[in-house]
């Protein structure tokens, strides 16, 4: 294996795959958040995860994976429940309720980090925002034929396993329960009448979103999780009216964003600017924004320019 190939396999490939899986998991689930007008809930969850991460770490007293994951998921779910509680008790609109809850959670996380700092543990809050995609490495042997041996696969970074597993579970869930999700999203009463519990399904969805956010969190960072949750579905929604097509399209867009964003950050932009590598997660969000802008302008049906074009030369009625 040449040096260039080895660098690709050990550095770029795992990071790119991790990022892509993270985007995929969030992007597929995001469809249902978007349609339920819960796009900002992803924002709320991803901020609220912070105190759970830090708290899990401080309680367990180690970098054990499970306590931090459990703490993060717990904090995310607690935030969802609290948002609902505040919304009902204080009779606030849901945006304001989210604003109250997630800022308090995030502030708690920042304070906890500082306290941990005081106890001699340095948790870097920047990673929470930027993600650590560049720190995902894989060191396989340099021979091509040993690349897929069990011993080598055991070295695959666990970030890759986690995001891959969550993406797989999300895809499986959406495929298996597609009909139920569709009914529960557009008509919860009908869902209840048909004999399955829309609330339970909603709860499972929220659980998966929380898991996807936590898993994607370390890869792409808190706020970029929001981009991953919202942008692929939003782009797909501009392109189609059918839910099934929208989900497939959002998955495709997610892969494009994941692979393309990493390529732009790691290879294309440094060559163009003749400068250093750029932040890959941020570049994925940027690429998502560019794609969204393109969809807003050129979507065959809903594009701004397309619509203007059609109004300028209206379709002639058949003679």
């Amino acid at each position: 294996m040449s040096d260039a190939w080895y660098q690709f396999v050990s550095q770029d490939l795992p990071a790119m795959l991790t990022g892509t899986f993270a985007v995929l998991a969030c992007g597929v689930l995001g469809n249902f958040l978007l349609l339920r007008r819960l796009a900002l809930l992803g924002d709320a969850i991803s901020h609220s995860v912070l105190p759970g991460l830090v708290g899990g770490f401080l309680l367990a007293g180690s970098r054990g994976r499970l306590p931090m994951f459990a703490g993060a998921a717990g904090a995310g779910l607690a935030a969802v429940v609290l948002v609902e509680l505040v919304r009902r008790l204080a009779r606030l609109e849901s945006g304001a309720a989210m604003g109250v809850v997630f800022t308090v959670f995030f502030a708690l996380g920042v304070v906890l980090i500082e306290r941990a700092h005081a106890r001699g543990v340095d948790l870097d809050p920047d990673c929470v925002l930027h993600g650590m995609l560049e720190a995902v490495f894989w060191f396989p042997p340099r021979q091509w034929d040993q690349l897929l041996s069990p011993a080598t696969l055991a070295l695959v970074p666990r970030e890759l396993w986690t995001t891959g597993a969550v993406a797989g579970i999300a895809a499986l869930f959406v495929t298996l329960f597609f009909k139920e999700l569709r009914v529960a999203t557009f008509d919860p009463e009908l869902a209840t009448a048909l004999g399955f519990n829309a609330r339970t399904l909603h709860l499972v969805l929220m659980l998966l979103v929380a898991a996807a956010v936590v898993a994607a969190f370390e890869a792409v960072g808190a706020i970029l999780v929001v981009a991953m949750l919202v942008c692929p579905p939003a782009i797909a929604r501009l392109l189609t009216d059918r839910l099934a097509a929208q989900v497939w399209m959002s998955a495709l867009v997610s892969v494009v964003i994941g692979v393309g964003g990493y390529a732009l950050a790691g290879w294309v932009m440094p060559r163009i600017l003749n400068g250093p590598d750029l932040n890959a997660a941020g570049m994925m969000a940027t690429l998502a924004g560019v794609l969204l802008l393109a969809a807003l302008l050129f979507s065959p049906r809903y594009g701004w320019l397309t619509r203007r074009w059609h109004t300028r030369c209206p379709v002639r009625p058949p003679a």
Partner: protein, 493 residues
């Protein structure tokens, strides 16, 4: 999550003495602490005033989007000026850049909404995340160019209130004054914008211009708040105090003042706590204080608080329960063909069966009535009961007319009798109205009337009386109508 943690050893500074805390509280703990405290209080006031209007306009999360949109501006301003003027760290330049991209972000949200396909929450989330992503990319570039080292831009993300200087305090003061002045001058117009923009538009209020103005003011608060609380938490000063204030009042003017007060208080408390406790970052502590004040408001606020709501409900149920007892007594006497008046004794057990009260509930309600002087309790002697035409309930193995219940009995006082008469009158008025005007079956009106009779006001009662009197169903106002259904048919076995 390994990347999240690096090891470091930092000694814990010793805690402050109580005397220090007192000095901090009284703005006498040195120049810097005073500047920081004054700044955060001013920020709290400005945020509370503007945030109230943004909240009521339904734009609470708009401030979040704007705050995140400042990041690319900060980085761009730094890059541009570092390259061309070599003065990237000038605060004014950075804040100008921040405002510029925040403005672009706000316009982008508006443009997406105008486009029409994506809804408001999606538009906000998309703009927030994409702009922040661009900001992170630019930041990673800044970090890696020679002489970059993030250019001290990190302090805008989490805030660094300790670095606030006197000109920052002046800036915050100016912004707070400006915000208050604008709101005071345009109060009527802004109120229309918040509650009924369509009506406002018909009155000639420039709704779109006001929306833009509001967005501009939010942006101003966010940008000047960056240094104090950071861009992730800047939104908190605009959302939490107004959300808390909303719980205290139903009036906009009062709400704005209360929100400013809560904002100032959380700014003050946050600055004091972070100055007296080591390793407490000011911005985050301010947000936590604001959150605590919100929690307290949610509990105890008299207008919309949880405790007040619980109390109101309990008081209503207490009144309704006592009215039920009075009506039951009245109707039992009526069913016995006796004049429902003070002094006639009804056995407690019989009263209880009337509505199937739980024993404890009935005792409590009777105690309340007794305390208000509406009923008296007495002993009932056992003995033969005069059989009545309709008879009595024969449950519990009682043969009809054979034995009376002995034990406690209840009698109405003069006062109770008149109260009971009034309750029954309202009940019957509504029942009769339902039968004659809503065409309900007489057998079904009792429960329906039960739901509404306690809420009938004096005025509604007079209206009903006038209506029924005009139709010849009511002999004179104040008369008690006969029941449209047999009285002892309920509750069923």
């Amino acid at each position: 999550m390994t990347g999240l943690i690096l090891n470091a050893t930092i000694p814990i500074p010793p805690g402050l003495a109580e005397a220090d805390l007192l000095r901090i509280l009284l703005f006498q703990a040195g120049y810097n602490t005073t500047v920081v405290t004054v700044s955060t209080v001013l920020l709290g006031i400005g945020g509370g005033v503007i945030g109230s209007l943004a909240l009521l306009r339904g734009r609470a999360m708009m401030s979040d989007a704007l705050a995140h949109c400042t990041l690319p501006g900060l980085a761009l301003a730094f890059l541009v000026f570092e390259r061309f003027a070599g003065a990237g760290r000038t605060l004014a330049v950075l804040l100008a850049g921040a405002s510029l991209t925040a403005l672009v972000g706000g316009l982008a949200v508006a443009a997406i909404l105008r486009h029409g396909r994506l809804r408001d929450d999606t538009a906000l989330a998309v703009v927030l995340a994409v702009f922040f992503g661009v900001g992170i990319v630019l930041l990673s570039y800044v970090q890696k160019i020679p002489g970059g080292h993030q250019g001290g831009l990190g302090r805008f993300i989490y805030g660094q209130a300790a670095a606030l200087q006197v000109h920052d305090a002046v800036l915050l003061g100016l912004v707070a004054v400006l915000a208050t002045a604008v709101v005071a001058v345009l109060f009527k117009e802004l109120r229309l914008l918040c509650f009924d923009p369509e009506y406002g538009a018909t009155l000639g209020v420039p709704v779109q211009a006001l929306d833009l103005l509001l967005m501009f003011l939010v942006l101003l608060i966010v940008v000047v708040g960056l240094q104090a609380v950071g861009l992730v938490l800047a939104v908190a000063v605009l959302i939490i105090p107004p959300a808390g204030a909303r719980l205290w009042t139903e009036r906009l003017g009062v709400m704005v003042v209360v929100a400013a007060g809560l904002g100032a208080l959380s700014g003050y408390a946050g600055a004091v706590v972070s100055a007296s406790v080591p390793h407490a970052p000011t911005g985050a502590v301010i947000v936590l204080c604001a959150g605590a004040l919100f929690g307290i408001s949610l509990l105890i606020a008299p207008a919309r608080g949880v405790l007040a709501a619980v109390l109101r409900l309990a008081r209503l149920r207490w009144r309704v329960g006592r009215e039920h007892v009075l009506r039951a007594l009245y109707e039992l006497l009526e069913a016995d063909r006796r004049v429902p008046q003070a002094g006639v004794v009804v056995p407690l057990a019989r009263l209880r069966r009337r509505r199937n009260w739980r024993r404890g509930t009935l005792v409590l309600l009777l105690a309340g009535l007794w305390a208000s002087g509406a009923v008296r309790l007495c002993r009932v002697r056992g003995g033969p009961v005069v059989p009545t035409f309709l008879g009595d309930s024969t449950r519990n193995g009682e043969a009809r007319g054979s034995r009376s219940e002995s034990g406690l009995g209840v009698q109405l006082t003069e006062r109770g009798a008149s109260q009971a008469a009034r309750v029954v009158r309202n009940h019957r008025l509504w029942e009769t109205f339902l039968v004659t005007h809503a065409h309900m079956a007489p057998s079904r009106v009792d429960r329906t009337a039960d739901l509404i009779e306690h809420a009938l006001g004096e005025e509604r009662v007079r209206e009903l009386e006038a209506l029924l009197q005009a139709e010849g169903r009511l002999p004179h106002p104040g008369a008690t109508l006969p029941s449209p259904h047999p009285l002892l048919s309920e509750p069923g076995p």
